[in-house]
């Protein structure tokens, strides 16, 4: 095994300090008593209290959550279908166009995606609100889901599906009983990815929303443009905390899953 040189240690330390220090400072200053965000005036949790009484933020948070849950669920269904089509359906008319449309949104600048969807909604005379944001988010996040799911579909052994079909399963049963359990971890991480993308999105939501549906990023953006505020620091801290706990739980769960699968494999080999 290679040893870490002093250069490696320095660059790793510098790198992780750079990545984490701004967020740590943000969290620390959310507990600042002073309204001035750059002067430390003692510990206080009053900004969290004020945040919980700010109805505009709470409403925006509720709208955001609703949009994220609905759009990521649709995106997971559509994205998994698209992945299955790309990996398993062979050739069909328009396949190149189809795969192009799956990959293009991943690299499309958000301002262009947002602008084009808004022009579509106006063109067909659709009222803008929660519904249009859900449609927009579903469209770009289904592409991320399909990339995650198709990489899993590529690697798993297709003969398992064929065996199920030979043993009398209908294609639907084979998918439900064999394919789905195998690709489930990828489908779940696809859903999580779509969910966070939706929670996080400012640009596309600003273009596609109407006055009735203000999402949390839009609210934060308009507050932040006026400068740094301790209330936003408190809100950011809560969001960082939720994500950190979520990611750690997910990684522990997947680690346990891997360990369990390995044990089962060992048991299966012994049984033979």
């Amino acid at each position: 095994m290679m040893r870490l040189s002093w250069f490696n240690v320095v660059s790793l330390t510098f790198g992780f300090v750079f990545l984490y220090l701004p967020m740590i400072i943000l969290v620390i200053y959310s507990f600042n008593k002073s309204k001035l965000v750059t002067v430390w005036a003692g510990f206080s949790t009053k900004w969290y209290g004020e945040l919980l009484q700010n109805e505009a933020f709470l409403n925006a948070a509720w709208v955001t959550l609703k949009v994220a849950v609905i759009s990521s669920t649709f995106a997971t269904i559509l994205g998994t279908m698209a992945a299955y089509v790309l990996v398993r359906s062979g050739r069909f008319f328009g396949r190149t166009l189809f795969s192009g449309m799956i990959y293009a949104p991943l690299v499309m600048p958000e301002v262009i995606t947002g602008l084009s969807l808004l022009l579509l909604f106006i063109g067909i005379g659709m009222d803008r609100g929660v519904m249009t944001v859900v449609l927009a988010h579903t469209t770009f996040s289904m592409c991320y889901v399909s990339v995650v799911v198709s990489s899993r579909l590529f690697t798993f052994d297709q003969s398992l599906e064929e065996a199920a079909l030979d043993l009398g399963c209908s294609p639907a049963q084979a998918f439900r009983l064999v394919t789905l359990p195998i690709i489930a971890p990828a489908v779940i991480s696809g859903w999580l990815l779509a969910f966070t993308l939706s929670l996080d999105d400012l640009v596309i939501a600003t273009f596609t929303t109407g006055p009735s549906a203000t999402t949390l990023p839009i609210k934060i953006y308009s507050a932040v443009r006026l400068g740094v505020s301790p209330e936003i620091n408190a809100l950011s801290t809560l969001m960082i905390a939720v994500v950190t706990v979520g990611v750690i739980l997910a990684s522990l769960a997947s680690k346990r899953n891997v360990a369990k699968m390995r044990q089962e494999e060992i048991a299966a080999v012994r049984a033979e």
């Binding site: 290679m2 870490l4 250069f7 490696n8 660059s11 790793l12 510098f14 790198g15 990545l19 984490y20 701004p22 967020m23 400072i25 943000l26 200053y29 965000v37 750059t38 559509l78 994205g79 279908m81 698209a82 299955y84 089509v85 359906s89 069909f92 189809f98 449309m101 799956i102 990959y103 293009a104 690299v107 600048p109 301002v111 262009i112 602008l115 084009s116 969807l117 022009l119 579509l120 063109g123 927009a136 469209t139 289904m142 399909s146 294609p171 966070t196 996080d200 400012l202 990023p217 934060i220 932040v224 740094v228 936003i232 620091n233 950011s236 969001m239 960082i240 994500v243 950190t244 990611v247």
Partner: protein
């Protein structure tokens, strides 16, 4: 029948919500601005046939983009900012990825997670975090004044420097991960062989490690460059009024000036600029996927 359904549902969805909107942008970029709502007058009717369609195309908005120096300055300045910040991200990201790949094996999953974690936290919040650090009374200036390095606070927030810092900070994980993936796959004995054959450590690094991580470097650079080019949030929060980036221009053209045809033309040109790097990126990814199989 089932296969048809399976293909048709996502296909039609993407056609209606991705391709058609795009064609609408193209169409509006070729229309005249009018004060009516929606603020554009279609310049042609689809029904009149192909010939009428072509004879009525109007490139007025594109001509306008070249006549007003704001636009080409914004494209050039976006290009400059995207290129420089991609280079800076590579300069900072490579040593980190290299350190990760050389770290003891049991540390690597944790290091990986530490790089991915910021990616899951809100982009907006990560940009916002720098506003409090870089402002005139911010923590960086406080620290530098306190340590005696400077006598007067530096103006960093609302300049291009702040935009560079913001882009490097938010896109760093996109650079680290592909480079780390390439370095992790590398066979360590190749370095030993090079050193046995008389290379110094530095030469071995240049002649063996860097070329072997080339695909990771290319992928990382595209993953930073492409989104940085159309970036809106970072220049609008960290940049100043003099920071020109095309994403910001498009936004203002649309929301403040309400000139939809010009905003659409700006979008079409931006996409034309990005098409080359996007194609190159796809090819690089495809080649890598084939090499792995």
């Amino acid at each position: 029948m089932r296969r048809f359904f399976l293909i048709a549902v996502p296909f039609v969805w993407l056609l209606v919500l991705f391709l058609v909107p795009f064609l609408i942008v193209l169409k509006i970029s070729l229309s005249d601005a009018a004060l009516a709502r929606p603020p554009y007058t279609p310049h042609f009717e689809w029904a009149e046939g192909i010939w009428a369609f072509f004879s009525q195309l109007d490139f007025e908005n594109f001509v306008f983009l070249t006549s007003d120096s704001l636009y080409w300055k914004a494209y050039l300045s976006s290009l400059q900012i995207a290129v420089i910040s991609t280079f800076l991200t590579l300069l900072i990201g490579y040593p980190i990825a290299y350190g990760m790949a050389r770290a003891p094996e049991e540390w690597r999953p944790t290091l990986m997670m530490l790089v991915i974690l910021p990616f899951w936290t809100s982009f907006l919040i990560r940009v916002y975090a720098w506003m409090g650090i870089l402002s005139k009374e911010g923590l960086l200036n406080q620290f530098l004044l306190w340590s005696g390095i400077i006598n007067e606070p530096l103006v960093i927030l609302n300049t291009n420097t702040a935009v560079y810092i913001g882009i490097v900070y938010t896109y760093l994980p996109f650079m680290i991960l592909p480079i780390y993936a390439a370095l992790d796959r590398m066979d360590g004995s190749l370095i030993e062989a090079a050193e046995d054959l008389g290379c110094s450590r530095l030469t071995a690094f240049w002649l063996v490690t860097v070329p072997l991580s080339r695909n990771g470097i290319i992928a990382g650079c595209f993953l930073v460059f492409i989104p940085a080019m159309g970036e809106f949030v970072i220049p609008s929060l960290l940049g100043g009024s003099r920071t020109l980036m095309i994403g910001k221009v498009l936004w203002e053209e649309f929301f403040s000036n309400r000139d939809w045809p010009v905003a659409s033309a700006v979008a079409v040109v931006l996409l034309l600029i990005l098409i080359v790097p996007i194609m190159l990126f796809q090819r690089n990814q495809q080649k890598q996927a084939e090499a792995e199989q």
